[in-house]
Amino acid sequence: MTELNSKYVDSGYVQKLILRSLLFLLLGIFAVYYLMPLFVMITTSLKSLEEIRTGSLIDLPREVTFAAWKTAWSGACTGIQCEGLRPYFWNSVLLAVPAVIISTLIGALNGYVIAQWRFKGANLIFSLMLFGCFIPFQVVLLPMARVLGIINLAGSISGLVFVHVIYGIGFTTLFFRNYYVSVPVELVKAAKIDGANFFRIFISIFLPLSLPIIVVTVIWQFTQIWNDFLFGVSFSEAGTQPVTVALNNIVNSTTGVKEYNVDMAAAIIAALPTLFVYVVAGKYFIRGLTAGSVKG
């Protein structure tokens, strides 16, 4: 789009300057609004409890201490246990990595079939999967808890991987299907004439094309699974909880003094992986968000 302001304002340089300053002032105020909680979290985590009690919310720490970070990582109590976030952080890694890989792989194959090997009913299956993305998960919690018990995965990390793969398929299929649908069908026809089979075409033609959509899908799935709380709190038990559940337990732990600096350090630790992904691959993150909402 063309620049509207400058075209419209031709009555002088000064007026334009005022408008631009106003614009940047507004943008700046909003930037402060979005950054303030992060700033408060970081400064609070670097203060001592004494300083938190006597100082004000937005004061910089007079004396920087990493004690709260150390406690949050390896000493804070999540209930009766006081091992900090560390074991739960690794639970989340052990949970997210396989769940992301498996659901992305399944989504790629599904998307390839639905977009390129159209058969009767394929669109109906796609619609059914798509709707599955939108259900409130509360509606599957009770039966899933029972099924996990029956197949002996209750309270385990494998059980959580299973749940995340199942309810991730809808989105991963959607991503790949929408990506592959723009590849001309003549490509598959030509490859078939050359004698290539289903998997051969997928591996040598489609996979090499897929890097951007793989990145988008992996980031989307990783963010969803890392940040999940509902499945984590419903299907885990002491020891297998993911990091979000442990963070919530630390914050709401009623034993001892309320250590706000530890809470904030723990919150930042739990947020670091997804923040890191967002900072290094923000472009793909946004593409996933918008692809997840604007279909077609």
């Binding site: 789009m1 063309t2 509207l4 302001n5 400058s6 419209y8 943008l27 909003f30 930037a31 979005y34 909680p37 408060v40 009690r53 004000s56 919310l57 937005i58 194959l109 599904n110 058969f119 394929a122 669109n123 299956i125 619609s127 999967m129 798509l130 599955g132 939108f134 259900i135 409130p136 509360q138 509606v139 599957v140 919690l141 009770l142 039966p143 309810y167 398929i169 289903f198 963010t223 940040n227 709380f229 509902l230 709190v233 419903s234 979000t244 963070l247 919530n248 914050v251 809470d263 904030m264 919150a267 947020a271 997804t274 967002y278 993150f285 997840g292 909402s293 604007v294 279909k295 077609g296």
Partner: protein
């Protein structure tokens, strides 16, 4: 034989996912629906007795609070996020050199877990040491901002944190929409001397109807599913003042051992999502097939 297999291969590849979706989405919805018509308490029972669970739900004062909270929270969350997102998108659309950085700052909350967001805002909004104490320390001794512990106002703190998290995302959606408007039309309007605000209100925004709809669907969906945010920010309290259907369902299922109530409240959530999403998906899919 192998030729037959090769021909059926696409279907065979899709089959496991299809079966999984049938069981774990539609089968499970069916199970929950069934159980919501029974007298299930701690354990599920399968003899249908009618609408007894829904009757219990509708006379429960706690459900009443949860359900009206959904509309108060949902309405404010959606409207404020949309307005703020639109404003930010228009501000950012003025050819700004630092747009990339600013966009990154506005959107980063979307990468955070709602538990993290809730934890941060719980600290900021706590009356003892947070915002209230800060402004009092600046000399405004009578300043009071204790919504977090005020049963009548606590639900608005959920709105505050929710808007903070989601509005940047709405901005990204709208910004993409603004960029997709045909340049030629805008140039023509400028040549005709139409003022900027008129160009936005009469030409650009009306052509973005589809994006408004998408943003609405995503936000409504986020609002109905909001669970983590309430748990981390208020824990549903004070009392049950900030309960939402999602937290009500969870409490019934996992703390109260009342499976019947959990199932019926989940079905109501399902119905609300259904009413919003199905017409949308239907029109999307039909538009594509035309």
């Amino acid at each position: 034989m192998s030729e037959w297999l090769e021909k059926q291969l696409p279907k065979l590849v899709l089959a496991p996912s299809f079966v999984a979706i049938l069981i774990f989405v539609y089968g499970f919805i069916g199970w929950t629906a069934w159980v919501s018509f029974t007298k299930s308490k701690l354990l599920p029972r399968y003899d249908i007795v009618g609408l007894i669970q829904y009757d219990r739900l509708f006379v429960s004062p706690r459900w009443d609070v949860a359900f009206s909270n959904l509309f108060v929270f949902g309405f404010l969350f959606i409207v404020i996020s949309m307005l703020l997102g639109l404003l930010l998108a228009i501000l950012l659309d003025q050819k700004i050199r630092t747009e990339g950085i600013i966009r990154t700052i506005y959107l980063y909350p979307m990468a955070l877990s709602m538990i993290v967001t809730g934890t941060a805002w719980k600290w900021i909004l706590n009356p003892g040491l947070g915002l209230e104490a800060m402004i009092r320390s600046w000399g405004w001794e009578s300043f009071t901002f204790n919504w977090l512990v005020d049963p009548n106002m606590a639900i608005y703190t959920v709105v505050i944190a929710g808007v903070w998290q989601a509005s940047g995302f709405v901005m990204a959606l709208f910004l993409a929409g603004l960029r997709s408007v045909d340049d030629e039309i805008i140039k023509a309007a400028q040549v005709d001397g139409i003022p900027t605000w008129r160009i936005y209100s009469s030409i650009i925004l009306p052509s973005m109807a589809a994006i408004f709809l998408s943003a609405f669907i995503v936000l409504a969906h986020l609002a109905i599913k909001s669970f983590d945010l309430v748990i981390a920010l208020t824990g549903g309290g004070p009392g049950y003042a900030t309960d939402l259907p999602a937290t009500y369902m969870y409490t019934m299922a996992f703390s109260r051992g009342d499976i019947g109530q959990a199932a019926s409240s989940a079905m109501i959530m399902m119905a609300v999502v259904f009413a919003i999403v199905v017409p949308y998906l239907y029109s999307e899919l039909r538009a594509k097939n035309d």
